[in-house]
């Protein structure tokens, strides 16, 4: 499994486990996890910690841009891809 596939799988597993509202087969990388409140505000700080842990890079909360946590794809693009556009 590539590093990218591992990260995406870890993110999906975290979302399913943390939310408790969704089955693994219901979550794909375009599922709007914030808009549908699969992940809500009570989880957002844990999500940030989880991304920091996976990426081994600190996140400046004050500089987060609109839409960075919208779905697994946006999280990957903004925090793990080589040309992040969200921080």
């Amino acid at each position: 499994m590539s590093r990218e596939a591992e990260i995406r799988q870890a993110l999906r597993e975290w979302v399913v486990k943390t939310s408790g509202k969704i089955e693994p087969q219901e979550l794909d990388d375009e599922t709007p996890i914030i808009e549908r409140r699969i992940i809500s505000s009570v989880h957002v700080l844990d999500l940030i910690l989880m991304i920091e842990h996976l990426s081994d890079t600190p996140i400046d909360v004050g500089k987060l841009k609109v839409g960075v946590f919208r779905n697994i794809n946006t999280i990957y693009r903004n925090f793990f891809a080589e040309s992040p556009d969200g921080r």
């Binding site: 914030i34 808009e35 549908r36 409140r37 809500s40 505000s41 009570v42 957002v44 700080l45 909360v61 004050g62 987060l64 841009k65 609109v66 839409g67 960075v68 946590f69 919208r70």
Partner: protein, 296 residues
């Protein structure tokens, strides 16, 4: 026609300003207030909205379900009464006997023991609906409207623009995700057309609710990265209203169901006094210069 610079509405004969952050309207301003509200009710009725009138207090235990007190402690206003124990009342009454009643600095009342506080003065009109309908399963989307006097404590007040008590008309839709999104999109379009027609310069801007300690509040962080509030901003500074998508937050908290899931909700909110302020600032004080706001 008047200029676009901010005007001191304290000078307007139809506005009486109280330094405790409240205003009284009369004459042409009261008539304008009523015209705006009639217009908002007409817009609500185009969606088949039912009209409601609510009391001014909201039970604190209901707002606590929304973590209101942790999120907005700086805004909340409580109704206070005295503990009805006779000696307590006598002690309070005695302190007011005779001339020169002993008010404290700045006119503050010296309370004796207060009774337990179990209510809050309405901070936003739409809360009443989720509380009123809690536990219901909706067979169809529900659109409702109400006008409420709302209370938000602020550090500074400005006539008709930032007040301790002010008037908020809301049109609320509770339904499925698609039904609520369609409702909000329809009002966004209608409002755009209205502002264009009367020539009031309004820009839409993403906003967050005024959370306490926003940089440390997860709800504020969430609203910033996934905007759910879009404000109608006049003159780059004054939000006269907003369109809000609550997702299924109120549905989950208050057990509202639609189509087998927690209901979604959204609202269109209008601050009546701010509409008057924007209107007078842009079109001037002379009624003859005002555009016809009624739908044609």
């Amino acid at each position: 026609m008047g200029g676009k610079a901010s005007v001191d509405l304290r000078q307007h004969p139809g506005c009486t300003w109280y330094e405790n952050g409240q205003s009284a309207l009369s004459g042409s301003l009261l008539e304008l207030f009523r015209r705006f509200d009639r217009l908002f009710v007409e817009w609500a009725k185009e969606s088949g909205a039912g009209e409601y009138s609510f009391p001014v207090f909201i039970p604190a235990h209901e707002l606590a379900k929304l973590d209101y007190f942790g999120s907005f402690p700086h805004l909340v206003t409580f109704p206070v009464t005295l503990d009805p124990e006779p000696a307590n009342l006598e002690s309070f009454a005695r302190s007011f006997a005779g001339p020169g009643a002993p008010l404290g600095p700045g006119g503050a009342i010296r309370l004796t023991r207060p009774a337990a506080i179990r209510d809050v003065l309405t901070p936003a009109a739409c809360y009443h609906f989720y509380i009123r309908f809690q536990g219901e399963t909706l067979e169809a989307p529900r659109v409702v409207t109400t006008l409420a006097t709302c209370f938000r404590r602020e550090a500074h007040y400005t006539p008709l623009e930032r007040q301790w008590s002010f008037s908020m008309r809301e049109i609320v839709c509770i339904g499925s995700e698609g039904e609520v999104k369609q409702f909000l999109a329809k009002y966004r379009e209608s409002l755009d057309a209205f502002f264009r027609r009367i020539g009031l310069p309004i820009a839409w801007a993403n906003a967050t609710d005024p959370f306490f300690n926003p940089s440390r509040n997860p709800k504020s962080i969430m609203q910033r990265i996934e905007p759910v509030k879009t404000e109608m901003v006049f003159g780059g500074r004054l939000a006269v209203g907003s369109i809000n998508f609550h997702q299924n937050y109120f549905g989950e908290v208050f057990g509202l169901r639609r189509a087998g899931k927690a209901a979604y909700s959204g609202c269109v909110a209008f601050g009546l006094e701010r509409w008057i302020s924007a209107f007078l600032t842009h079109f001037g004080w002379e009624q003859s210069d005002w555009p016809d706001i009624e739908m044609t």
